[in-house]
């Protein structure tokens, strides 16, 4: 009986509410790559060695099914920016962030594209406290600390969500640094 109750409690605690699209991907692309005229998708199917390296650098993260995808914007054949969409799984359902990188190899802008019906209010509150503003200009060696920055301005749950968004941005930065910026394919 105890086991049944414990299972029910776990199921309740781990409930996942439906996904909510906060910003459509097409709109995120327009915002993150405003100057782009041509678009390209680069997919990397990671080897075990590279998957292990990414896991080591990105706090044990591995992308879904071992695949990284970079969306590249170009103008007159010249690269103007790169976007990554990163999903962060939480006990309350997934959150997705779109991270845009500029040609100076820093974070240009971050947009939270998806949340869940439960996490949406916390995400919006965190965004209202200018969470995404804290990511602008982050270098590839920086660690996002948006949650700490907005701590004084908002409540516990938005800060909790901000930590998860920090995590998503961190993963994007590490993936970009390890498998894009150093690949010699830029431009």
């Amino acid at each position: 009986m105890k086991q049944v109750l414990a299972s029910a409690l776990i199921a309740t605690l781990l409930h996942i509410t439906p996904t909510v699209v906060l910003v459509k991907r097409t709109d995120a692309v327009k915002q993150l790559l405003p100057d782009a005229e041509q678009f390209f998708m680069r997919q990397l199917h990671l080897s075990k060695t590279d998957g292990d390296k990414l896991g080591k650098d990105a706090d044990n993260w591995s992308p879904p099914d071992g695949e990284l995808t970079f969306y590249i914007g170009k103008e007159s054949g010249k690269e103007v920016g790169v976007i990554e969409f990163v999903r962060v799984d939480t006990p309350h359902g997934p959150i997705e962030v779109a991270v845009g990188f500029g040609m100076d190899r820093t974070v240009r802008q971050v947009i939270v594209t998806k949340a869940t019906t439960e996490t949406k209010p916390w995400v919006l509150e965190a965004l209202g406290a200018n969470l995404t503003g804290t990511y602008r200009g982050l270098k590839l060696t920086d660690t996002p600390d948006g949650a700490d920055v907005i701590k004084a301005k908002t409540g516990d749950l938005p800060v909790f969500i901000a930590h998860l968004i920090d995590q998503g941005v961190f993963r994007a930065i590490v993936a970009y640094r390890d498998f894009y910026a150093t690949s010699g394919h830029m431009g």
């Binding site: 097409t26 327009k30 390209f40 080897s47 879904p64």
Partner: protein, 186 residues
Amino acid sequence: MLYDLPHADIRVKWLVTCLLATFGVTYLFGSWMVGLYAGFTPHPVAVTYGSPEMNMAAMTMQPESTTVTEHAMSEEEMGAEAYTVDRKLLVQDTHVHMPMYALIAAALSIVVLGLRMKRESTFVLITLLFLAPWVNFGGMWLTKLVSPQFAFLVLLGGYIMAFDMTIITVVAYWQMWMPEKQGEAR
């Protein structure tokens, strides 16, 4: 038959009627959801459940060295996203859905046991009720772990479910609510 559903207490018949109607509606929404997220042909199902790193040549194993592919796309295509189910989500889906399918199959089997039909037909219907989720989820796992060519099994499992559900609902409604012909054995 194990009991006589067509001549059961009207409250039992009403219960079965409501149960089948509710299952029917959820199955219709299930079909709609499949249409929205996966599709009704093997290719989009393979895209949904297959592993991105897998193609006919390189099954589920990680490549020895990282492979890179790049192709041009429109701005709209860039924003579009195919719904995919990765391994972790499939584990969760299997854990959540299989017990529910078993309970639905058990409930429908109890309805089948009360219908006037040959024993063999009863066996077939009950077997199909439990076989469908195995084929459905087995297809998803084979598509992910072995080859996208198994995507047809996902669809086959869904079609078996729909077929079985339709047969049971039509026969049950007919036997419970259609007036009997004169002289028909009760």
